[in-house]
Amino acid sequence: MLETTTTATRELTYAEAIREAIRQAMEQDERVFLLGEDVGVYGGAFGVSAGLIDQFGEERIRDTPISEAAIAGACIGAALTGMRPIGEIQFMDFVTLSMEQLVLQAAKLRFMFGGKATVPFVLRMPGGAGTGAAAQHSESLENWFVHVPGLKVVMPSNAYDAKGLLLAAIDDDNPVIFIEHKLLYKTKAHVPEEMYRIPLSQTNIARQGTDLTVVATSLMVQRALQAADILAEDGIEIEVVDPRTLNPLDDQPIFESVKKTGKVLIVHEAVGTGGYGGEIAARIAASEAFDYLDAPIRRLTGLDIPIPYNRTLEYHTVPQVENIVAEARKLVKGEY
């Protein structure tokens, strides 16, 4: 009984959950290995891979020079020839230096070769603002990848999902862009020790509600859940929907939620123009849920500016809990 209790209450941080997924996958499958800048003794810029080198050695926990194009290429070539690499890009911003390899090679090889090649790798990278790191270390570039057929894009919003989604991503035979959030690394959740998988392309209803659907990604799911608690005090029940995998998207649960609530707010940290919210909005507008809408589809996104350094300016650049609460109230009260 005691052991069951311990297991049921076992909590890990988001960073620990990711580390555990990497460790367990590497223990189980020798084709899996990690490479990236400072992932070895340093333990990764955010400590995600801390200690793994002690267990697996420097061959499988492989420090690379600062060479993002070659890191991506190394993942592709190894994946093409029977390995299942996990690459780490230290900050999502730096993946701009890998884009040729990811967009023109990884995403297209299978299709260009008539479906005869597989490119199974995961490229992990932390995105997001909120650390005072300013414009070149705070980007949310997920939609760059969403726009590329052949890549899968995963954005876990909590520690439990992070482990289950990463294990599923490692199993997947496609290149998976796995976007972590710096502000989530220290957040805790119940994380079982066993190697559970959360299937990719499976949207999650993070909280049930009746008055408004809030579709949110990554850190914004947590902020939407906090907003939900505040709104519930006023009797407003919002339903929080977390796609988890942005592409390929499981959109039916979003439509079902909108059909139930009749109103939808889409929240993401990335800039609004050309952002993922537009895709969600378009899909809802083109679906059977359209007839159920009794308010305009609203988006709450990061401002169309680079992330500023100043703490106050940075705070006002990306959606905060109070912004979600305010938008939700307006929608529910029929002010749009």
Partner: protein, 339 residues
């Protein structure tokens, strides 16, 4: 610093031919002719309007394609190819794969890539030909991963990655050669210096005499040789293969050669003279190898002619096969995006 282009001396050629053997040497000549015939036919099909898109012909560079692939073991070793890559595909398949190659060139379902890739993306994954690449230098970082995979799997395979002089000026070249070097990866970085990156001559694009000099920046071996001599290519790659299999890391090779045709179909060739082209055509690698074989008593003039004629006939058969092959079915257009 001027480094000589290494040529194969007569006594070395004799030793290499003894190593290769008569049958295999004749096969190499046959494959060179097959590539020439394929490329000439490709040009003709394009002129007839039977091919859409573009293509990049390798006429004049056959020695490089054949010499490299015969120093390697297709199906065991790995090939990453570039956009001027028909010859490398054919040489990797020892000339026995021209039907699916031609079918892919014509966009047919029976092509290597089921018509999805075309001229610039021909791959034969089953034989470890990991594909041609439409991006200049695109395969160079991928080779790092192939080399790393070989090292982690502890086999003695080798990866050769072909690229042109233009690719050596891409940033990814620097990242990749450095990474391959620090990890001692079994990779042959093979630069086919055909004198022009589209219109940009190597004289204008480099401030060094030989591209292989860059090897010293990465602490690896670099070597430049006569890329119009099939034995020189075979010899250089063989030595690099030996080093790679022995765990001694990557090599940067530079084959000095010349493309007879324009960069692609849109090229009016305003950047070079007819005299220059003619001077290089006089160094045609195919009769050169033929003469070498005849001098060594391994071939007669009649046999040389017969090999040539057979190659051109084989291409006609491949064209007929491709022309009679079905188009891809539009109903399956989404296939292969995801596994």
């Amino acid at each position: 610093m001027t480094e000589a282009i290494t040529t194969v001396k007569p006594e070395r050629a004799e030793a290499l031919l003894a190593e290769i053997g008569q049958e295999r040497a004749r096969e190499m000549l046959e494959v060179m002719w097959t590539i020439r015939a394929f490329e000439e036919k490709a040009k003709e099909l394009y002129a007839l309007g039977k091919i859409h898109g573009t293509m990049h012909l390798s006429i004049g560079q056959e020695a490089s394609a054949v010499g490299t692939s015969y120093a390697l073991r297709p199906g065991y070793d790995y090939l990453l190819n570039h956009h001027r890559g028909h010859g490398h595909v054919i040489a990797w398949g020892r000339g026995n794969n021209i039907k699916p190659t031609m079918a892919e060139f014509m966009g047919k379902q029976t092509g290597f890539c089921r018509g999805r890739g075309g001229s610039m993306h021909i791959a034969d994954v089953e034989s470890n030909n990991l594909g041609a690449n439409g991006i200049v230098g695109g395969g160079i970082p991928i080779a790092v991963g192939v080399g790393l995979s070989i090292k982690l799997r502890r086999t003695d395979q080798v990866c050769i990655v072909m690229f042109g002089d233009g690719a050596a000026n891409e940033g990814a070249f620097h990242e990749s050669l450095n990474m391959a070097s620090i990890w001692d990866l079994p990779i042959i970085y093979y630069c086919e210096n055909n004198q022009y990156a589209m219109s940009m001559s190597v004289e204008r694009a480099f401030n060094i005499e030989r591209i292989s000099q860059r090897a010293c920046a990465y602490g690896i071996e670099g070597f430049t040789f006569d890329g119009n001599d099939v034995l020189a290519a075979y010899d250089a790659v063989s030595r690099a293969v030996e080093r790679a299999r022995a765990g001694e890391g990557p090599t940067l090779l530079e084959a000095v050669t010349y493309r007879w045709e324009g960069h692609s179909k849109s090229d009016r060739q305003a950047y070079r003279t007819r005299e220059e082209v003619k001077a290089w055509q006089a160094k045609d690698p195919i009769p050169r190898f033929g003469e070498r074989l005849m001098q060594a008593g391994l071939l007669t003039q009649d046999e040389f002619n017969a090999v040539r004629d057979a190659a051109y006939q084989k291409i006609e058969d491949a064209v007929a096969y491709a022309e009679n092959s079905p188009e891809p079915d539009v109903a399956n257009i989404m296939d292969g995006v995801y596994a």
